[in-house]
Symmetry: D3
Subunit: 237 residues, 6 copies
């Protein structure tokens, strides 16, 4: 029933390649099917003004899409003079999600910026950014630990995200673009490795949903996040 022929609760193939750029303190290229996102983590020994002298660190994120990551070419945001509303929404979400898994006191007064740049888009870019962004963050933090710059691990848990939606009347896991553009209801579910929720966003464009449907999507998401966490762990060993 799904355009890709997948089962309702079947994720796309996940691949996470680490160490893809030589400059970043942590990096990976995450591929969730045909969605490919390059994630890099940059450590800076300073924090934003609102965190100065707080004894705590900060984790933030930025998100972008290459102009031809999409079916038809998008205008480059740098030439438009600003980031669009969707971009701003997404990068704020990634930052919040990653911070939920961080002990910012243990991190110490430094900032880690996670850049998520979509090389190729086929649905679910924000979820792939969070999942891949956590891997880049993990690798950057490992570097700090190895160098002795921090003593106790500030990462409390993996953070991963997956989208689910009602497609053709059925709850399905890990929407790709053809599904995403048709689904009346879809949600993004961000969780820790133990399944506790960090953020849930379920929205309907021209439709509504019941609490039962919401719970069905949450069940799928828990399954998906477990698989993503396993892929993260395999990548960062």
């Amino acid at each position: 029933m799904r355009p890709s022929g997948r089962n309702l609760d079947e994720m796309r193939p996940i691949s996470i390649e680490t160490g893809v750029t030589k400059h970043a303190e942590g990096s990976c290229l995450i591929r969730c099917g045909d969605t490919h996102v390059l994630c890099t983590a940059t450590i800076e020994e300073r924090v934003p003004p609102f965190m100065r002298n707080s004894g705590q660190g900060w984790v933030t994120a930025e998100y972008g899409m290459l102009p031809r990551s999409t079916t038809s070419r998008m205008r480059r945001e740098a030439t438009q003079g600003k980031q669009g509303g969707r971009t701003v929404e997404i990068q704020r979400l990634i930052g919040r999600a990653l911070r939920a898994g961080v002990d910012r006191v243990a991190l110490g007064e430094r900032q880690i910026t996670v850049d998520c740049d979509v090389i190729q888009a086929d649905g679910g870019t924000r979820c792939a950014s969070i999942t891949g962004g956590w891997v880049a963050l993990r690798l950057a933090v490992n570097k700090l630990l190895k160098a002795g710059d921090i003593v106790s691990d500030p990462l409390l848990s993996n953070v991963a995200a997956v989208s689910c939606g009602i497609y053709a009347g059925q709850p399905v896991l890990d929407l790709d673009y053809p599904e995403d553009s048709e689904a009346g209801v879809d949600g993004n579910f961000i969780m820790l490795a133990n399944g506790r929720l960090i953020e849930t966003q379920m929205s309907a464009e021209g439709a509504t949903y019941s609490r039962d449907q919401m719970n069905a999507l949450l069940d799928l998401a828990e399954k998906g996040v477990a698989e993503l966490v396993a892929a993260q762990n395999a990548a960062v060993i």
Copy 2:
């Protein structure tokens, strides 16, 4: 236990005053406790480019805060040269929420813009904007119906929104600012009159939540939305 002395499941006093500006096709001043939002609906006999010749109408929203609606003065967005990320996120949410209750074919090829300007802020401005915005929309649509410009009512249901959160370890309904700034987990719940969900956003800053907690907040939200719908109906008679 709550700073305001309210019960865990008690809303702030709701007041909706309609017809507050003489120019707008629909308008109201909604007060949810000390949060006051002026909502106006403007009808234009044109649609955005992506909707032209579709036979369907469009409903969109814009959101703003007056500089001194907050405890300390905020910089005016017009002088900063752009709307901030939070503003963009909120106005996109309001627009999506209102559209979920609209039959856009019945509306016909015209646009209704709902402006939500926060006069005074004390938490929950986005939810008040949605609830008040729907009242402005209802009044504007009534004008179209009365004038015979449209024949069947394009509004399928009330749309209302409330925030809930975990405050001091307890699920509470309708967070005010002192609660919102302390709550580790909070969510915005947007529903139709019959309780079906349009959008759910639950996020944790520096915390996580379980599915049980999520369900407890949903229970509170259903109660709150029912009261808001009643207030809307009383206002637009």
Copy 3:
């Protein structure tokens, strides 16, 4: 002869409601007929860079119109990426006008920002902003005096403003929108309580005027300002 039926030298009804927002140090909602402006004054214990270490304070103003304060909806300046030329002109005028009534040494090295946001427009918004802005300023300064933060009153006099114009060949006082859009010549007159002038702006779009006509408008303006000063004083007792 006037669309409103008023006498040539008759002001619109004036109402000034104070204390309309709980956060601002001073606030009022001024209504000059159907022109409604929300004015707030914010005290900050810092001055702009060019006034630092001068021992003097600063008073400045910002002006905005809600998108649907006008007959047809205006584009929100925050979405246009800048304040328009008219807005900039008006807020500079309000700031200059208010400063003319202030002893900035007595104010001490702090800044008061007066925000004037037009809720509903029917002509004369800049004059209403000055008149209402002074009330907000007066209330904020009263708070400083009461708290003992300043010792001698820095407000030397009331400041109020009214527009006059040549409408249908006759000098008329306090133009409303239907008059303003027809008048070939119109002026804004800003005065102290004793009638001394702070700023005069008389301009003609597609017309000119004689010195006699200018003096006739000044006579009307003196009458109008006296009434506005009385209304200010009644409001701030």
Copy 4:
């Protein structure tokens, strides 16, 4: 008593050199003492959207200062990303002033843009821009008349402007920069050749003025404008 040694009612030397750029339809370099402004008029066979199909023409103006036209270097507005408030105010004023002397029906549906660029500033740049701008406009219109593109002269009268102020307690004509920076009260007076007023702007920064003082400045302005009109006429013969 004046820093320049001029009499109270004495203008600075005026020089108007025409035809200073080969591309513009009309141009002049106006020198009012050490204030030098290059004025060009550009004819375009189109009007702004709001004038289309009105059968009328439009005259507009733009103003700029070269970065080192002033004592210390100003930041270039093009690098700041916008025109400052003062610039916008001035160019709107120039445009309004010039339009007051134009029969826009006789001009026909075309636009004339007058650019006023300050090469060297020593006070009174906006007045010099208006006076010189009219000369550029006159020359451009002459070209249209000569070519037979328009039949009757759309320029109803000269338009010229001068500043006056209260300096060291005395009304003085044609303020230069040392006077302007000290004067508590100053005004810009724009008139037709016959002395009828187009626009009056008198403002006080940290001071006020009486109607008698206002009339004294108007007397001086009439004298000054008469001299400027004579210089304009001599230049455009």
Copy 5:
């Protein structure tokens, strides 16, 4: 003598991988040593306004660097609200270079946009962008030819570019970042396959050069471009 141990006239290893994104009409990832640039070509059946109805096509380019393509993180241009001067210079250069190898009449009235996004930077990103950009262009044009949308090949020749400079007193080929940041003189040389020049830019920061030195660099550049052309041809077979 060179930091990398290369001979004076030795290029870095070149690799060109094609078909790296599924959406673009042509794409490649070019690696010149540690400089990696993703190049995509997008065909659109429209031309910019200045080319409409000319019967000719247009080729243009855009350039960007991912924030962490560099040793320390660069600010994302989209968040800065504009492309920097260096970016604008480079993308104009890429566009001019590629157009020099195109018969725009044969291309027909369509536009090809070549996006060059630097994934990892180690000197020579603009030259790699031109060399890789031509490959993406070649592949996109091949698609048009294969589909019969154009009949004769509009690509007249390969276009490739290399940088050379005076490093430690010696002319060297294909500067990497450690060399580029030390070289007093460096140039970018863009050529056709037959060695004819399209663009030469040689500049000195804090130094100058003789015509003999210029000719020595041109000799090296000819050698380098020949190798790049061979690599292009191998990639697009």
Copy 6:
């Protein structure tokens, strides 16, 4: 053969008038035929952040065109909200060129900003800006030397620039606008007084060139620069 009737190796008449504005530390109006550029040099006793505490000075440049310096009016960059790509390219080039002739240690930790504003354009504005900019710089530095603010002359040599191109198949010196708009190949050549090269930019739009042609243009450029240097020296005596 040339539209102007000049010989192939003949420059346009050069005139350099110094001391044209009273505020700038150095200034000139350079006329290369009908290309007229006003150049001013401003000394500031501070350097940009990246040069602080380096013991070295900085020389930078800004470039602008008056809106009607061109055949048809250009939009003012200040109203467009940014400098165009061409402007940015040119001003970076002017700055680099001038710095090549400066001993920045001898200059001391101060900045000289050279503003080049095109009053009238007829081709070659960037070269005229460099040649005239150096004169303004020379005069400003003379002032520093005379005042004893610096001891040894930081200007190592004249810096001058000329454009050459292939017009109608022939190499020609000092392109004017009619030639520049037709030439398939053109270059800008910046040199010291002794002919050593600072920067060479040769580009072809829709054409290519051989090394022999490049050398022919360099021969012409050497002749032209020698004449420009003589004119500079005559102007600054």
